[in-house]
């Protein structure tokens, strides 16, 4: 504190020089622009994140109700519900087949620990939490194999936990 300015009559005040003020302005504009872009993408273009779907009892969810028979339900009009059960270290079912152009609602829960569900090359990415149902929807126009990978550590054989969604060309199921 040796070469401090002599204070004289100057009173305390919030001090920012011109560059600082400009930078503050730029920062705010930038962050607001990001927020708007993301909001537009989320609400206008319909990119969804999972929400509050429904709760289940992890001890009994596999005994009755839709998760007692995991798999695909044809809702007609090219729309399907897929019920998937996760447990250490597998997804049931391990394979799902739908025709190209289908829209699939994924409902997933776990009967033991937390898991993850990432459907490669799509925007389907969810935490799977016991006691909760995770839901997202996607439409598949391009035929091919889409692996679904458990991306939340669930125990020693976690790296082996995956399944496949196969989108078949040429309609008709």
């Amino acid at each position: 504190m040796s070469d401090q300015q002599v204070l004289g009559e100057e009173q305390p005040s919030f001090h920012a020089d011109d560059y600082e003020k400009k930078w503050i302005g730029v920062s705010i504009v930038l962050l607001v622009a990001f927020a708007v872009t993301v909001a537009v993408a989320g609400f206008a273009l319909g990119f969804q994140v999972p929400g509050d779907e429904s709760r289940v009892d992890p001890r009994t969810v596999a005994d009755s109700g839709p998760f007692s028979q995991p798999g695909l339900r044809d809702l007609g009009g090219g729309e399907y519900d897929a019920y998937i059960l996760s447990q250490q270290y597998l997804f049931t079912p391990r394979e799902i087949r739908v025709p190209a152009g289908s829209t699939v609602n994924f409902y997933i829960t776990s009967i033991d620990v937390q898991h993850g569900f990432k459907l490669q090359d799509t925007n389907i990415n969810m935490q799977i939490v016991p006691g909760q149902v995770s839901k997202l929807t996607a439409t598949f126009d391009d035929p091919g194999e889409y692996p679904y990978i458990c991306h939340e550590y669930c125990g020693i054989a976690h790296a082996a936990m995956f399944g496949s969604l196969i989108v078949e060309a040429g309609g008709g199921s």
């Binding site: 009173q11 305390p12 930078w23 989320g42 999972p50 992890p58 925007n123 389907i124 458990c150 991306h151």
Partner: protein, 556 residues
């Protein structure tokens, strides 16, 4: 209006130096052990499985190692370094000893006991639950209790700082809190509020069920409590580095703190905004309405604002330093900084990589964009730029003056230390770039990818780059630890009058001219609590009243 008379810097006693030194011993030991697992993981990803050779010492399990890596590096190295460093900023900043040194000693030893208590089950394989310990993956009760003691010990050290501040304030009514002490106190205050989340999670759910007192947990509620703490945790790591960047690095570079007002404003905003943003880690969770997620996304952009202020002030302070050293030009001034000082080079390189870490962070926080990267290798790619570089490399840089200061011994081979900082930089550029790319290609994190059946050929080149970066980082971390040990262990002492001083930067403008509202606690604390209640209250209330502790524990 009080004018500050020139004051002598505070000379720490031998006892105080030893106390801070003990923190560093534990911190550096944790980093040394914890970091060894990082390269093992990286090599495993590219098909080089070294775990098989570690079977004789019981470390052949990827996830046991990953738990140790996360806990020792992200929790132990950071927390011990930070509590030690904040002890220094408190007493040296306020120019007075701790008010109750015994209290701080109790806090420290409680942390040590907690560390041992958590380390035993980790190494024994009874706690391979990773450093996020999400229920219902169940660990030994000793692991949870150990972590609790570490947190409570850090609280107690924090109380010690607050009592010291109160005592100082009584004797210094009209004086602005010296900046480094100010920053440390805010960091600790934020930490005390933030850790309430995991404290509640552990005490109400994890400890009881691991002791067999209850039959289960509510895992989603557990995640909400965890991330209440988990996001501000990153600011607990980062703010001490910011204290150094704002309040010390300018001095080391030959300049001054450019804007005292803006620096203080940034710290208050971190207190205010770093907690009510935790849902940005739960964007893809079930059980939380998307509206709440969007609110936290917006607040997360808010907490990016003080980081942008930091970028400006730190760069301006450095530019000022460089211009005093004759540096010129739009970017040319950067070369005029004292790059040959390993402490400076470490922190400058840390800052450069942090800019990329920040950009990645804004991506992660972007609500729907998060769908692309959540739980992929992108995320560890991101936080090895932040906690493992911005923070870790800065702490390494700090220790390059701190350890000589504490021991009275010169830094062992400064040139070697300089090379160490550059190797970290180069290794991390390769490592983290490859991790980010892998994430975009869909590679999951926390996964023993060498054994995964679904790895496409497309990933292989990047997995190889992860292990090349990992190898360079391994060399760098070994060089760092050797430098620290050799510095402390050598016989040579620095000559009288040549002692390494604590770098404390002055402000360009007298801090007494900073307005009082930037040095007043009450409104900011009230604002912080209020914002937390608004951003968390309704959803937390909903999750607690609808909680169902029906999820029994499972072993990994």
């Amino acid at each position: 209006m009080t004018t500050l008379k020139p004051q002598p810097t505070y000379e720490m006693t031998g006892q105080e130096k030893r106390f801070i030194g003990l923190h560093l011993v534990v911190a550096i030991f944790a980093l040394a052990v914890g970091s060894l697992f990082g390269p093992l993981q990286a090599f495993e990803w590219s098909g080089l499985d070294l775990y098989q050779y570690l079977e004789p010492i019981g470390l052949d399990d990827y996830y046991k190692g990953l738990t140790a890596h996360g806990v020792l590096n992200a929790l132990v190295w950071t927390t011990f370094f930070i509590t030690g460093f904040l002890t220094l900023t408190t007493i040296v900043g306020l120019r007075r000893p701790l008010r109750y040194p015994k209290l701080n000693q109790v806090g420290f030893w409680m942390m040590v006991v907690g560390l041992v208590m958590a380390a035993v089950p980790i190494l024994a394989g009874w706690a391979s639950v990773l450093y996020t310990f999400y229920p219902p993956l169940e660990a030994s009760w000793a692991f949870y209790l150990g972590l609790t003691l570490v947190v409570v010990g850090s609280w107690i050290e924090g109380y010690g700082f607050f009592f010291t501040y109160i005592a100082w304030r009584k004797e210094n009514q009209d004086v602005r809190t010296p900046f480094i002490a100010f920053g440390g106190l805010i960091t600790m205050a934020m930490w005390q509020i933030a850790t309430l989340g995991i404290a509640v999670e552990i005490l109400t759910m994890l400890l009881p069920y691991s002791l067999g007192l209850t039959s289960g947990t509510d895992p989603e509620l557990g995640r909400t409590f965890f991330w209440f703490t988990g996001h501000p945790l990153v600011y607990f790591w980062l703010l001490p580095a910011y204290i150094s960047w704002y309040g010390m690095l300018p001095k080391q570079a030959g300049g001054k703190l450019f804007s005292d007002s803006l620096a203080r404003l940034a710290f208050w905003l971190f207190l205010l905004l770093s907690i009510p943003v935790g849902f940005h880690h739960q964007f893809v969770d079930p059980g939380i309405p998307s509206g709440w997620k969007a609110i936290h996304a917006a607040l997360t952009y808010g907490v990016a604002f003080p980081s942008m202020l930091t970028l400006f002030t730190v760069v301006a302070s450095l530019e000022y330093a460089a211009s005093r050293r004759g540096g010129k030009g739009l970017f040319g001034w950067i070369r005029a900084l004292p790059w040959n000082d390993p402490s400076v080079s470490a922190q400058l390189l840390a800052g450069i990589l942090f800019m990329f870490g920040g950009i990645g962070g804004i991506t992660n926080a972007s609500y729907d964009v998060n769908l692309v990267v959540h739980n992929t290798a992108w995320i560890p790619g991101h936080f090895h730029l932040t906690v493992a570089t911005a923070v870790t490399l800065s702490f390494m840089g700090i220790s390059y003056w701190l350890v000589p200061h504490l021991t009275g011994k010169p830094l062992w081979k400064p040139k070697w230390a300089l090379v160490q900082t550059w190797l970290w930089f180069v290794g991390m550029v390769i490592f983290s770039n490859a991790m980010h790319v892998l994430g975009l290609l869909g590679a999951p994190r926390r996964t023993e990818l060498g054994t995964a059946p679904y790895v496409p050929d497309e990933w292989n080149g990047h997995l190889l780059r992860v292990s090349i970066g990992g190898a360079i980082l391994l060399v760098s971390v070994i060089m760092y630890v050797v430098t620290m040990v050799r510095t402390a262990a050598q016989k040579e002492r620095v000559a009288v009058g040549e002692e390494v001083q604590i770098p404390i930067a002055e402000s360009l403008r007298d801090p007494q001219l900073t307005p009082l509202w930037l040095d007043t606690w009450r409104p900011w604390i009230i604002g912080t609590v209020l914002l937390i209640v608004l951003a968390y209250g309704p959803q937390l209330y909903d999750q607690i009243t609808n909680a169902s502790f029906s999820s029994p524990g499972f072993g990994p």
